[in-house]
Symmetry: C2
Amino acid sequence: MLIVKKFGGTSVADKERIFNVARRIAEDYKKGNEIVVVLSAMGKQTDVLLEMARNINPKASKREIDMLLTTGEQTSVALMAMALNALDIPAVSLNAFQVAMHTTSAYGNSRLKRIDTERISVELENKRVVVVTGFQGVNKMDDYTTLGRGGSDTTAVALAAALHADTCEIYTDVEGVYTADPRLVSDARKLKEITYDEMLEMASLGAGVLHNRSVEMAKKYGVQLVVRSSLNNSEGTLVKEEVKMEKMLVSGVASDRNTARISVIGLEDQPGVAFKLFNHLARHDVNVDIILQSVGRDGTKDISFTVNEDDLEEAVATLERHRQGSLKCQKIDVEKEVAKVSVVGAGMMSHAGVAAKMFEALYDVGVNIKMISTSEIRVTVLIDDIHVEKAMNAVHEKFFASQL
Amino acid sequence: MLIVKKFGGTSVADKERIFNVARRIAEDYKKGNEIVVVLSAMGKQTDVLLEMARNINPKASKREIDMLLTTGEQTSVALMAMALNALDIPAVSLNAFQVAMHTTSAYGNSRLKRIDTERISVELENKRVVVVTGFQGVNKMDDYTTLGRGGSDTTAVALAAALHADTCEIYTDVEGVYTADPRLVSDARKLKEITYDEMLEMASLGAGVLHNRSVEMAKKYGVQLVVRSSLNNSEGTLVKEEVKMEKMLVSGVASDRNTARISVIGLEDQPGVAFKLFNHLARHDVNVDIILQSVGRDGTKDISFTVNEDDLEEAVATLERHRQGSLKCQKIDVEKEVAKVSVVGAGMMSHAGVAAKMFEALYDVGVNIKMISTSEIRVTVLIDDIHVEKAMNAVHEKFFASQL
């Protein structure tokens, strides 16, 4: 088997953890597997480097920041190769130049375009474990780039796709993907399997075990992902195209507190008003989530929508700028103390009543629903922030109680 | 003017020093010069990284150690480019892959083979200061290599040669090359100029401002070197092919305590004995310095020679191994508490009496001479270690008193 294994910064934070990881790799190597390891920078090293940069120049260019940050993963891979050698496992570390990992030009948030596999293949043929820097690439100017948040996951999936690996294992500090965040819902349990689409919906809803870009790439290239713990040997969760038919209706309950609602009150009731509004926001890279339009007073209309809390300031500023111009309205309301709660499951495509069941659970514990949004495999409601935990538990119990 | 400037680790050890260097570069840039900067790793970072490696694997491969060490210079160049940007000086950092710096295959102690100048030239044309990682290169396997001790000096000189730079400035923590080590000889004074050959003799005698490899390369490619202080603006010392005719007889007095004497007593007086002895040592990479042969008792002969103290153990072990075989002798004596003192000067080629003047100075202060060795531009004596300071001062005064 050709296995790509990705370990995050926490898993390689110090000597002890580096050797824990090295021993796991050694086990699989001794079984005759070919192994490619993808590593992030050690512990909080990326933050340390960013702080160094800020200290020298608060407006440091992204090009130079990437040049600085890429030293982080290079340090981890060199040390991991040394640790593997210390366990008598032949190993070689490679950075983005050596692989090479070709990306788009953009610094700080680049995208992988192509991965050369020749060097890695030669090293694998020579029976070496190949330890590759995650998160980083090289653009057409021969400059270092970085892939942005969750970048090392993307590196691992892209490598697995390019090398036609049998499986791509993403090691984290949890044992897999859960039916709900175990910190919020004590009954949450680990899923054996989940589809790419469900994982995407879960990730975008703050379940955050895997970054969306890596899941999208895995789906696109059919890379089988395994999310598992770096601390123990339990089986983890398989992420793939389709899961067994007898699976349950709903895979999980997810929540996202990092959300805010904006209501634009008293817009002129004319064609193109909604287009103008969201076009302004799109131009400022503000991603809009749930949208709700209702009839207002005196022949006007109201449009409410949710945005990521990080984008709130930018969104409001943009709207205020256009308020006297193309976007006449009476009032712009903002509500920050809201959260999204969602149920996700590929099974609901063929089963009615999931939304109703969810709303019943919320009604039972007296949680008011502010907005509703649905996709083929997801039902999302917006509720008051303070009710998240109560809502999560009620919804989770409604769907999973019988299976516990 | 195209200037290559090299700063060592101490000069970029922290934010304040990085900005000191950046301001100096900015000054020269604003005068209209094209500037290439070569940097070492910050402060003691290389030692820190070596310690990390040792902690993970005391027998870490040189290949992986180089992979780890090269992060050091990459960190300095990125931060320096940020600092220059903060001073509104356009700048770009480049590592050994980006330049590219092609070296021989050997890890840990590689030699530069070829430097591509295209990327640097383009950046210079775009009016950017180019900040390049010293000490590191890339071999034909596309692996990082490092150049060994004094490597960043060599990088700077090689870049100056490849780019046909007008001058190569090596910044250190002293103001230039002195007639003697100022810590030993209080009257020592800074030289305005010195020839490559004199510098080579000085360096090999422990004056250590520049590494021999960089001086050899400067001589080979006719690169004009300037050794100057990173702390102030004083003029420094020019190192070049020939210096003014009116220059003094002797350029400096150097000493080297890191030396030991081995005496092989009672060798058979046959042809080929000396060849065998030094051939054995050469095979074990032991460099031999001063050699003295004398007639021993009973038709035997004695051979004494000095070696670097670091090589002493290896040298003695080698001789002992062959003592019962091809190298019959009565005794092997070792003396560690010895030191070399030398006067160096291109002027002595055309002036007799330098050696005599030196011996007189030593006689005046009662220092016994154990061995003598001369080259065209150097006279070296071996004396007891404890007399080094006294001998240095006496010899220095003899040659320089009239000029002080």
